[in-house]
């Protein structure tokens, strides 16, 4: 359990310390990507509680979801359609569902 927590803490520290600044034009893509990443992580946590966790599915899902979300936002911007709202909506709904399921699992224990 400590290893993932360490990873998250390390990531936060690296992100805060290393002066990588993103061009403002990409902030929107990044925000959707972050949402997708959060969704994947919560999905993984849920799968872990349901004892269905598969590391390959998890890691591929994380990266493909993140890239797809950012790509979708990018394409949407080119097309003039606010496609990123679709991504926000889908990931937002799933985030809440996953959270609800995780909460029930924890309450049952």
């Amino acid at each position: 359990m400590w290893l993932p927590v360490l990873g998250l803490a390390l990531g936060l520290i690296i992100g805060l310390i290393v002066p990588i600044s993103m061009p403002q034009a990409y902030v929107q893509y990044m925000s959707v990507a972050v949402l997708a990443a959060l969704d994947s992580v919560f999905g993984g946590a849920r799968a872990g509680l349901e004892k269905k966790f598969d590391d390959v599915v998890f890691i591929t899902g994380f990266f493909s979801n993140t890239l797809l979300a950012a790509g979708l936002a990018y394409i949407g911007e080119r097309l003039g359609v606010a496609l990123y709202t679709a991504a926000i909506f889908a990931f937002g709904v799933r985030l809440f569902q996953n959270l609800a399921i995780i909460r029930r699992h924890i309450l049952k224990k």
Partner: protein, 234 residues
């Protein structure tokens, strides 16, 4: 499960980095962007205002010089008369003479809820129409709230105000015009004409014949950057 934990750790590391970068960038945008932009614009405005002021001083300076050379040039009275006439036609000297005074204002009516306020205020179109009628009626010189109309003066809507010679004009608007007072008044007051239309919408529109109206000179710079006069016979 050890391998799984490692993967999860890597994924969370990436997520943490993304989150941190995103936090920082969002914060930067909120803090910096509007302030620096406002500062930049303020500085620009100050520069431009200063530039304009110094240019205005230069204009009056040059005009004085032009006047002096015109007077003591010694090349004869004819030339200076010609110059005076040209300057009067161009709108660079104040003029006076018989004419009319047109006073326009927004409607005094209180707005009922749901009514379009645009119907009851004076628009640049109305001014244009009045000026056009005055010109058709033989007006020689026209000023709007002290702004002399030149050949290249604009009458333009700019938000809640009207621009004339790039100066803001707000109601009440007084238009002065020299010319035959009777002809000017009747051209405005003609049945179905512009003043009748304005009054129909409740706007205040009055025209008065005057024995003497004084119309100021144009006080801005006159620059012909692209046009050149064509000499006949060339």
């Amino acid at each position: 499960m050890k391998r799984g934990q490692l993967y999860v750790a890597i994924v969370l590391l990436v997520l943490g980095m993304m989150l941190a970068v995103q936090f920082r960038t969002t914060k930067d945008i909120q803090q910096n962007a509007p302030i620096s932009r406002a500062q930049e614009l303020t500085a620009r405005l100050k520069d431009v205002t200063e530039e304009r002021d110094s240019l205005l001083i230069e204009v009056s300076d040059l005009r004085k010089k032009l006047e002096q050379t015109g007077r003591k040039g010694g090349a004869g009275k004819a030339i200076s008369d010609e110059l005076d006439k040209a300057r009067m036609v161009a709108g660079l000297t104040p003029v006076e003479g018989p004419g009319v005074e047109v006073v326009l204002n927004d409607s005094p009516k209180k707005l009922e809820p749901g009514e379009d306020p645009n119907l009851y205020i004076l628009h640049e179109e109305d001014l244009l129409k009045v000026v056009n009628e005055l010109r058709a009626g033989g007006a020689e010189a026209i000023s709007i709230n002290g702004q002399r109309l030149l050949a290249n003066s604009e009458i333009r809507c700019a938000g809640t105000t009207i621009l004339v010679n790039t100066k803001k004009i707000v109601p009440p608007i007084t238009i002065l015009a020299t010319g035959d007072p009777k002809a000017l008044q009747s051209s405005l007051e003609i049945k179905g004409g512009i003043l009748e239309t304005l009054r129909f919408w409740g706007l205040q529109a009055d025209v008065q014949q005057k024995q003497k109206v004084e119309i100021p000179a144009y006080d801005g710079p006159v620059v012909f950057q692209y046009s050149k006069s064509v000499k006949e016979g060339d």
